[in-house]
């Protein structure tokens, strides 16, 4: 559906993107993760034809964005980091304008606009002036303009940025629902958001793609050296002292903010019985693969 190959972009002496390549398959919801300034917006702008690149190519549904921009852009719905709204227009007029520019046939414009207004629950503000709307509603209208021509792929640049918690939940729900019918590439630096809404992820840092795949695949790669994290109900320090005497573990250390977690590794393919027996005394809350949580994976990859 979307193929990005070898994107390189310079702003003067600053290398913003370096050989960025990835693919987004039809029907998938892909998270595009990176810290601020990592190159997410630049990549998205290039994909949508808002910016050019020094090297590389972008193909959307088989159409190259520079050679066949009109055809390629018909298949894209883009919500930039700031919703691109004209503050002097009403919601309905703006969406009609968007539909006209996105080549929706004249006879279908009204129906498409009504459909998208209903889908995004903005019927109560359809005659309001955009400049008077709250940030949450503006974001919904921004999503509506990206959807009005029924594109095959949606590119959403930090769609929950600057929203209050209830608005974030609403937008996330919307995106989850859209994911059932559309291919979506969604950028964010909020890791939980990507974890909740996406089935694949691409991690970018300093303009380079450093990892891509499902969360499980990425965490497995990151934690390839082995290792687990044990969370106890209480008594982590005492437990470590006791485990040290058993000698069945390859490494053992206290981690976490207040040394409340235990990181350990072992040789062989079975968890040592000693460990389970001793840990049971202190109450096991959780045992997981080291690096299994997205924050840890992200920090490890981008440090």
């Amino acid at each position: 559906m979307l193929s990005v190959k070898g994107l390189t972009k310079r702003y003067g002496n600053i290398l913003a993107l370096s050989d960025v390549s990835f693919e987004v398959q039809q029907g998938s919801v892909v998270g595009f993760l990176g810290s601020n300034g990592a190159g997410k917006t630049t990549t998205m702008d290039i994909i949508c034809g808002c910016a050019g690149c020094d090297k590389g190519s972008v193909t959307v549904d088989g159409y190259d964005i520079t050679q066949n921009p009109t055809e390629a852009k018909r298949n894209i719905g883009y919500l930039p980091d700031e919703p691109p709204i004209y503050s002097d227009m009403s919601v309905e007029d703006y969406l009609i304008y968007a539909a006209h520019l996105r080549k929706v046939p004249g006879s279908k414009v009204k129906a498409k606009v009504s459909e998208v207004i209903e889908r995004l629950s903005i019927g109560n503000v359809r005659h309001r002036i955009l400049g008077n709307l709250s940030k949450g509603y503006r974001q919904r209208v921004g999503l509506a303009q990206a959807l009005v021509h029924d594109p095959k792929i949606l590119i959403l640049d930090e769609p929950t940025e600057g929203l209050d918690p209830s608005q974030i939940v609403q937008i996330r729900e919307l995106i989850k629902n859209l994911g059932k019918t559309h291919t979506i590439l969604i950028s964010s630096h909020i890791l939980s958001e990507v974890q909740n809404t996406c089935d694949q992820m691409i991690i970018i840092n300093d303009g380079k793609i450093i990892e891509q795949g499902s969360l499980e695949e990425i965490s497995n790669k990151v934690s390839s050296g082995g290792g687990y994290v044990l969370k106890l109900v209480s008594g982590a320090k005492e437990c470590v002292e006791e485990l040290k005497t058993s000698g069945s573990l390859s490494f053992l250390e206290l981690v976490g903010e207040n040394d409340q977690d235990i990181e350990f590794g072992f040789n062989g393919d079975r968890v040592p019985e000693d460990l389970i027996r001793i840990a049971m005394k202190y109450g096991i809350k959780q045992i997981r693969t080291k690096g299994g949580n997205l924050e840890e994976v992200f920090l490890k990859l981008t440090k």
Partner: protein
């Protein structure tokens, strides 16, 4: 073509839904009214005292309109930037330029849509001034040929001025800079015709005189429609619309 129409329609609607077009229309028509009254008074004084003013008796309406239209040229120094300054500067400031760039719309369609929108607004303003020549036609003797050639000249002049304004708006990021730069450039093109000979003689002076708006526009006010002047204004318009296209396209790559 349809896309150009949609972009132009949206721009015209935006101008009239904000106070901008209203203020521009009111002030322009008010000033034109004041000028018309003033020039008529001069003409009446001249006809009343033919010896003092060197006139031949009677009100020369053609002179009144020549003075009026020359002043329209001067007034456009301020009204053209007022309508063009926000065309692209606002889109860039509000990030709505991404809305246009990510739509299946060519840059030519964007440039032409914006240009036709401001041409429509300024054209309406010129049409509104027709009330004075029509009024004069009923009450005096006015050369209809000069009348029409003056309006053709005004439309060609405003078209060239607007294309320059569109280009300046496409290269600037703020309305203020866009406005001031347009005023300065239009002022230069206004005075070059008069000042060219004192700035430089020979070929350079002639060239400066040629590129000035005034030297071409004055011919229309005299009732002379020459191909050179028409082609000059049309070429100027097309050239600066092309520059706008190049500037917007290159900004995506910078």
């Amino acid at each position: 073509m349809k896309t150009i129409y949609y972009i132009a329609k949206k721009e015209v609607k935006s101008s009239f839904s904000s106070p901008k077009a209203g203020v521009v229309f009111t002030v322009f028509l008010l000033l034109i009214g004041v000028f018309f009254k003033m020039f008529m008074n001069y003409a009446l004084q001249a006809s009343a005292n033919p010896q003092q003013f060197g006139g031949g008796g009677g009100v020369d309406l053609n002179q009144v309109f020549k003075a009026l239209f020359s002043n329209v040229h001067f007034l456009f120094l301020f009204f053209v930037p007022a309508v063009t300054m926000g065309l692209f500067a606002d889109e860039k400031k509000n990030q709505t330029i991404k809305f246009l760039y990510s739509s299946p719309v060519s840059i030519w369609e964007i440039v032409l849509g914006k240009y036709f929108s401001v041409m429509f607004v300024m054209g309406l303003m010129l049409v509104a001034t027709l009330v004075y020549p029509i009024y004069a036609q009923f009450h005096g003797d006015i050369d209809v040929g000069i009348w029409w050639s003056s309006y053709l000249g005004l439309f060609l002049l405003v078209s060239a001025q607007l294309s320059l304004g569109v280009w300046i708006s496409s290269v600037t990021k703020t309305q203020f800079i866009s406005c001031v730069t347009t005023i300065i450039c239009l002022f230069m093109l206004l005075i070059l015709g008069w000042a060219s000979r004192s700035i430089a003689g020979g070929g350079l002076g002639g060239f400066l005189e040629y590129i000035s708006f005034t030297s071409h526009f004055d011919n229309f006010l005299k009732g002379m429609i020459s191909t050179t002047d028409v082609i000059y204004f049309l070429t100027f318009t097309v050239l600066f619309l092309y520059y706008s296209y190049v500037s917007l396209d290159s900004q995506r790559w910078s």
